[in-house]
């Protein structure tokens, strides 16, 4: 969940410059509108409830940043929000504390996908099929997305190999639980690229997340893949009538980690315990449509919020988790192949 660099820089200036005593609990997230929402929902209420002071920082991701902080011995971060790939790599490299789940509600308190030895999930979000209800009646599937004969019009996809191979296989009828097993075979990769080949002349590639609702709204494409947050946001703030197809969407989880050797471990654990409260997590959804990861975070949500919540059990059941291990191993090779394919 990476925010714009500018927003990050601004947030860093604002909050990193705040006076810190011996060293207050330092919480690091993605900046921008998301961190603003987190401040409302988590940081300030936590501080008020416990009297623990905190400072904020923000970052743009990248395991190298965390590695340098730990190896240089100059780490000033305590709690950091990381993407799933950084969680995997950093845990392997010993950059994070192993979590004591007994102190934060136990493993069963969370959705099973959100539980990791080194980090606990805080938000879950999806890459979905989105369309403009003003131009397309009904709810398209990935198979319809690929069916340009029946539904003529351009299709938007993110310029990159990740996500698209998965969508291609889903469109070709591969059951969700078989997608990565199929991609782990040479024939499966072939099959996904053949599907992309069929659609290629009809694809408009988007690059930054903000472009996805934009090309949909401007009528450039009939349907597009998009991060769910951007679509809900466009509906809320620009009065769009975009639809979200949860079936066959891909999701990932951002987690909180405690940096190795943090002197503020106690405070960090108290924050994680506070943030584990499903009633607290539920307050994020009205601000920004990312799903809370504690069980029950969707209980009592009104229907219009439940509909756009990625962790609504009905939505989650039909989604597929992105396999980070697969992409860690294969991103180099498949990106090269994808770029070559795209250039032809």
């Amino acid at each position: 969940m990476r925010r714009s660099f500018l927003a990050t820089a601004a947030a860093t200036l604002l909050f990193a410059a705040a006076p810190a005593s011996a060293r207050d609990l330092t919480i690091v997230s993605w900046g921008g509108a998301y961190q603003d929402a987190q401040r409302e929902v988590y940081f300030r209420p936590f501080s008020q409830a416990t009297g623990i002071r905190f400072v904020e920082d923000s970052w743009d991701g990248g395991i190298g940043v965390l590695r340098t902080r730990i190896q240089s011995g100059n780490n000033t971060w305590d709690l950091v929000q990381v993407e799933s790939e950084e969680l995997l790599l950093g845990c392997e490299e010993g950059l994070f504390e192993k979590l004591d789940y007994a102190r934060i509600g136990g493993r069963d308190h969370y959705l099973p996908e959100a539980v990791h030895d080194c980090g606990v999930g805080t938000i879950l979000y999806n890459f979905v099929l989105a369309w403009d209800r003003a131009k397309f009646q009904g709810t398209p599937t990935w198979a319809d997305f690929w069916n340009v004969e029946r539904y003529p019009g351009k299709r938007g996809l993110r310029r990159g190999v990740k996500l698209n191979l998965e969508f291609a296989l889903l469109a070709d009828g591969v059951p969700p639980n078989q997608v990565y097993a199929t991609l782990r075979t040479e024939a499966g990769v072939e099959r996904a690229f053949r599907m992309l080949d069929r659609l290629k002349p009809h694809i408009v590639w988007w690059q930054s997340s903000a472009q996805a609702p934009q090309i949909l709204g401007s009528g450039e494409v009939l349907m597009t893949s998009a991060p769910n947050g951007r679509i809900t946001n466009a509906n809320r703030t620009e009065r769009r009538n975009f639809g979200i197809q949860w079936a066959g969407s891909l999701y990932t989880i951002d987690s909180w980690v405690i940096m190795k050797g943090s002197p503020n471990r106690e405070q960090a654990y108290r924050f994680l315990a506070f943030a584990a409260n499903p009633a607290v997590q539920a307050k994020l959804i009205p601000l920004i449509p990312y799903g809370g990861t504690a069980k029950g975070a969707n209980d009592g949500l009104p229907p219009e919020l439940l509909e756009v919540s990625p962790t609504n059990p009905a939505n989650l059941a039909v989604s597929l988790m992105i396999d980070d291990q697969f992409w860690l191993d294969n991103l180099d090779r498949l990106s090269q192949r994808f770029n070559a394919w795209l250039a032809r």
Partner: protein
């Protein structure tokens, strides 16, 4: 020599000394005045770029992490699996690297070469951390079957450093196999030659169009009445005060499916339904021409303004028809401006990143896009640096060629 003459000589010498001293003083102060700028350029421009380009030929990650393995692989011929001693060395290296926390960077480097090697290294190090009985070779092969592939060992040898041609070869769609022979990469991985060609082709096309469009415009400005030419010049300069990104975004609005251009063309009855004008080569070229046009017009205008109007009148009075007067009198005098304008537009066009990224489709991306892609997305800085290096060399080659054919003194007058 008479005394008077001697005095004269010594005076002259003293004068010469004073002049030289004054000149030296002036050049010292000039050097001091320039020094901050020079230091700034060196520190903020030359040094970082140099360091970045160096990464295209450096390979520092794996050597220090697997020293024993690489020493043992010195004797290896690359045709069959290495010997037991090499496997034992690998086990020692992996244990040491795991303890020191140096494995991840080396593992990522090897993953750029062969997919999955990152996991192979990290997982093998974990599995081999505990002591085992018997042959190292069997233990390593048990830890991960990838060690049974000759290519795995080939990748380690290729990454031994400290210098490498791996990235430069990759940037030319070439690679070495385990025995060190250079050959083409598999066809589904080959991309960069196409991209190089495309980059130069788009830049050439943009240069040709800006010349065709800019030449009459520059002539119009140069030949118009001063009040008119001031207004026209202002209009040419106007886009300079708008950011490149804004101008690119403006083209997105203009060319969108429900944008101004489509609406106008439908209203005129040229199309029945909106056409896709965005995300293709046409959009990229037209926006680049728009952005780069001032760089063509200004040098042309500067040269044309210096051509005395009397030349054309003289040609006419000597009986030259307008076309001949233009062709034989006017055009040759504008050649330095054409050279300077084309050089500036072409070189800038080679480096375009944002405009093709926002307006182009998949097959319209130019080299800078791929440099950005490898630097940011797959964090393969070696390849990004190698691509930059090749682009820089090609650009310098073109500048050099220009210098040989046209000469830089011609540019100076522009």
């Amino acid at each position: 020599m008479s005394q008077a003459a001697a005095i004269e000589t010594s005076r002259a010498e003293a004068l010469g000394r004073r002049t030289r001293r004054a000149a030296r003083g002036r050049s010292v102060s000039a050097a001091l005045l320039v020094a901050p700028l020079l230091v700034f350029v060196l520190v903020s421009f030359a040094a970082p770029i140099g360091a970045m380009l160096l990464r295209g030929v450096e390979d520092p990650e794996v050597g220090p992490v697997l020293p024993r393995t690489l020493a043992a692989l010195e004797r290896w011929d690359g045709t069959d699996l290495p010997d037991e001693a090499t496997f034992a060395a690998l086990v020692e290296d992996l244990r040491a690297a795991r303890a020191a926390g140096t494995l991840p960077v080396a593992a990522s480097r090897l993953n750029h070469d062969i997919a999955g090697l990152r996991t192979t290294l990290v997982a093998s190090a974990r599995r081999l951390a505990a002591p085992f009985e018997g042959s190292a070779r069997e233990a390593v092969l048990r830890a991960d079957p990838a060690w049974g592939q000759v290519e795995t060992w080939g990748a380690i040898v290729r990454a031994r450093g400290p210098w490498t041609d791996f990235f430069l070869l990759a940037a030319l769609d070439l690679r070495r196999d385990a025995t060190g022979r250079i050959g083409p990469v598999p066809e589904d991985q080959a991309i960069f030659r196409t991209v190089f060609f495309r980059t130069f082709w788009i830049a050439a096309m943009v240069t040709a169009i800006t010349l065709a469009a800019g030449y009459p415009l520059a002539a119009l400005i140069a030949l118009a009445r001063p009040s008119v030419s001031a207004v026209l010049l202002f209009l040419v300069l106007l886009p300079f005060w708008t950011s490149l990104l804004v101008r690119t975004a403006a083209w997105m609005v203009l060319l969108a499916r429900e944008g101004v251009v489509n609406h106008a063309l439908i209203a005129l009855g040229l199309f029945g339904a909106p056409k896709q004008l965005l995300f293709n080569r046409f959009a990229v070229v037209i926006a680049m021409v728009h952005i780069l046009l001032p760089f063509m017009v200004l040098p042309l205008y500067a040269v044309m303004r210096q051509i005395p109007p009397i030349h054309l009148r003289a040609a006419a009075s000597l009986g030259a028809p307008p076309l001949a007067a233009f062709w034989r009198v006017w055009l040759p005098q504008t050649l330095p401006g054409i050279g300077a304008g084309c050089l500036m537009v072409f070189i800038q066009a080679l480096g375009f990143y944002v405009t093709p990224a926002l307006l182009g489709g998949g097959a319209d991306q130019m080299l800078p896009y791929f440099i950005g892609f490898y630097a940011n997305q797959t964090v393969n800085w070696g390849l990004a640096a190698a691509l930059s290096l090749l682009l820089l060399v090609a650009t310098l080659g073109i500048v050099g060629l220009y210098g040989r054919l046209v000469g830089f003194s011609a540019v100076r007058t522009a």
